[in-house]
């Protein structure tokens, strides 16, 4: 097993790696132009936007031009980074709470039918709480810091629970049955069969949670914080410094994408087997190969 892992890790510069297990890694080697498609859409949009701004000349506080936003991003980089740090910290801490609580709840709900009946409806109901309405209350009840974390956790734990429960429930019963006849106790079945089987699904939930967490943090900051990109956008909107608001939005997008990518990288580390490569195939690839 060690040998295979090494082979997979080496694969980018060792296309001659012998094991078929290394094949998916070889396929995923960063090709030139891998990132290009992601840049097409913003390039086109920004070009159209810039052109429109130059021709129609809207007032700067109503719609700043991309060039103005880029200027703001650079000129106020210190202030933006100061606020971004707070947002990143809140997002990560809240996400950690969401993942911990979400996984525990998923284990509980997947384990017992009565736990499912007692808990699951309320997990779902919690998502109908209007976050914007509760946020000010949370800030009043708790200190701003814990209120923020609670908000992030509230919006981010849900996809973790749903994906975790479905992943655990989707386990192939044959696998558990077979190892049970080899003397596996329930604890072993959980550790080596149910949880590894649920991981791919769980990571889907984690990716969603990572992006939701950023939204949660921004809403919290918007309502009740002095520092953070949410608070900063509120301030700059109020001062009609719209270019700065857009700069904050650009930062938020960057944070969201970076978190999403980080979770995907984590998934790659956690699931080094071919299972994942098969899962990642596009629909078109699925129709072509077996």
């Amino acid at each position: 097993m060690r040998a295979t892992r090494d082979a997979a890790a080496r694969a980018p510069d060792a296309p001659a790696a012998p094991a078929p297990a290394a094949a998916p890694a070889r396929r995923r080697r960063p090709r030139p132009g891998r990132w290009l498609p992601a840049l097409v859409l913003p390039f086109v949009l920004i070009a159209v936007w810039q052109g429109a701004a130059m021709v129609l000349r809207p007032r700067e506080w109503l719609l700043p031009s991309p060039a103005a936003i880029a200027g703001a991003l650079w000129d106020d980089r210190g202030r933006l980074w100061f606020h971004a740090q707070a947002t990143i910290a809140t997002t990560l801490a809240g996400l950690a709470i969401a993942v911990g609580a979400g996984v525990l709840l998923a284990l509980l709900i997947a384990w017992s039918r009565s736990a499912e009946r007692a808990v699951y409806p309320w997990v779902v109901a919690s998502q109908t709480v209007p976050v914007l309405a509760v946020a000010p209350l949370l800030v009043v009840w708790l200190d701003p810091e814990p209120a923020m974390l609670a908000l992030v956790a509230l919006v981010a734990f849900f996809p973790v629970v749903v994906a975790g429960v479905d992943g655990l429930r989707a386990a192939d019963p044959l696998l558990a049955r077979t190892v049970r006849t080899m003397g596996a106790r329930p604890g072993w079945v959980w550790r080596h069969v149910l949880v590894p089987g649920a991981l791919p699904g769980l990571f889907t939930g984690l990716r969603m949670a990572a992006v939701f967490a950023v939204t949660g943090a921004v809403v919290g900051e918007y309502v009740g914080a002095e520092r953070g990109l949410g608070a900063f956008s509120k301030l700059t909107t109020g001062q009609f410094q719209t270019a700065l608001t857009f700069a904050a939005v650009a930062w938020l997008a960057l944070i969201g994408v970076a978190l999403f990518a980080a979770v995907s990288a984590l998934e790659r580390l956690a699931l080094p087997h071919r299972h994942r490569a098969v899962r990642r195939r596009t629909v078109r690839e699925r129709m072509r190969r077996t």
Partner: protein
């Protein structure tokens, strides 16, 4: 252990109890219109080192029977004896090998095959060594560190057989183990099973709906009736051992197959 079990009163000291015995197993599943009987008083025996086949139509409750024997389900009535003793909590004493390989996709082939020894508390290195030796025996040298997805169906079933070999404490329950393979691969697997059985002499209950497979492999073939399942008849397979799949071309084989078909027809499975 056997010595302690032998009852001096009946004076048959040399008599070994069957390795695996079922006595009057009954089981019904709750259905929409009342309980649906699945097992209707199943009794059978597998003597130590014996290979017994159970043939019956699909959906006749064979897999349920194996679950009960393996200790994954409890019967409504009847009992399962291992070495002549009632065996509550017997899960882990009879190893199941299902039709699909049931290898864990997130573990390498060697690690999968080492499952039995590792569960038995054998040190990791030792278990790994045993797994590699077993894989070499079934012809999978060089694939130890692959993940199951990289293997063909036949190779995966070989790995599953190696895993059963290491995990099974002398008693295997094979649930149509080669049913999903093409005919040639299946013949190869039957040869391999025959060889492994000769080497290790496990007590095997093989469930299949392939009459040829049952006759090639088994010492006795039990015929199950359609649902609810019960054992309707037995054919003693008198073909000489050691066998290879070529035995199915003999006249003796044809005669036995005639007997078996007659028995199967009697149970109504051909109707």
């Amino acid at each position: 252990m056997t010595r302690r079990r032998a009852a001096p009163s009946d004076g048959v000291l040399a008599h070994h109890p069957p390795h695996l015995a079922a006595r009057g197993l009954r089981l019904a599943f709750p259905g929409r219109d009342g309980d649906v009987p699945v097992l209707d008083g199943v009794s059978l025996e597998v003597r130590p080192g014996e290979l017994v086949a159970l043939v019956g139509p699909s959906g006749s409750g064979k897999s349920t029977l194996l679950d009960v024997l393996a200790g994954l389900a409890e019967p409504d009535a009847g009992e399962v004896l291992i070495d002549g003793r009632p065996a509550p909590g017997r899960a882990g004493r009879l190893t199941l090998m299902p039709q699909r390989d049931a290898l864990l996709p997130w573990q390498t082939v060697a690690r999968n095959v080492a499952t039995g020894p590792r569960l038995a508390g054998v040190a990791r290195e030792t278990a790994d060594g045993e797994a590699r030796a077993a894989l070499a025996r079934v012809g999978l040298e060089g694939f130890e560190d692959h993940y199951p997805h990289a293997l063909s169906g036949g190779m995966r079933q070989r790995a599953a057989l190696a895993r059963t070999l290491l995990a099974g404490r002398g008693a295997w329950l094979l649930d149509e183990p080669f049913g999903a393979l093409d005919a040639l691969t299946r013949a190869g697997m039957q040869d391999l099973l025959l060889a492994l059985w000769e080497e290790h002499r496990p007590s095997v209950l093989l469930v299949t709906h392939d009459l040829d497979e049952a006759l090639v492999l088994a010492d006795r073939v039990l015929v199950a009736g359609p649902r609810p399942a019960r054992v309707a008849g037995v054919v003693e397979v008198t073909l000489p051992r050691p066998r290879r799949v070529e035995v199915s071309a003999s006249a003796e084989f044809a005669a036995l197959k005639g007997d078996l078909l007659a028995l199967v027809r009697e149970t109504g499975a051909l109707a």
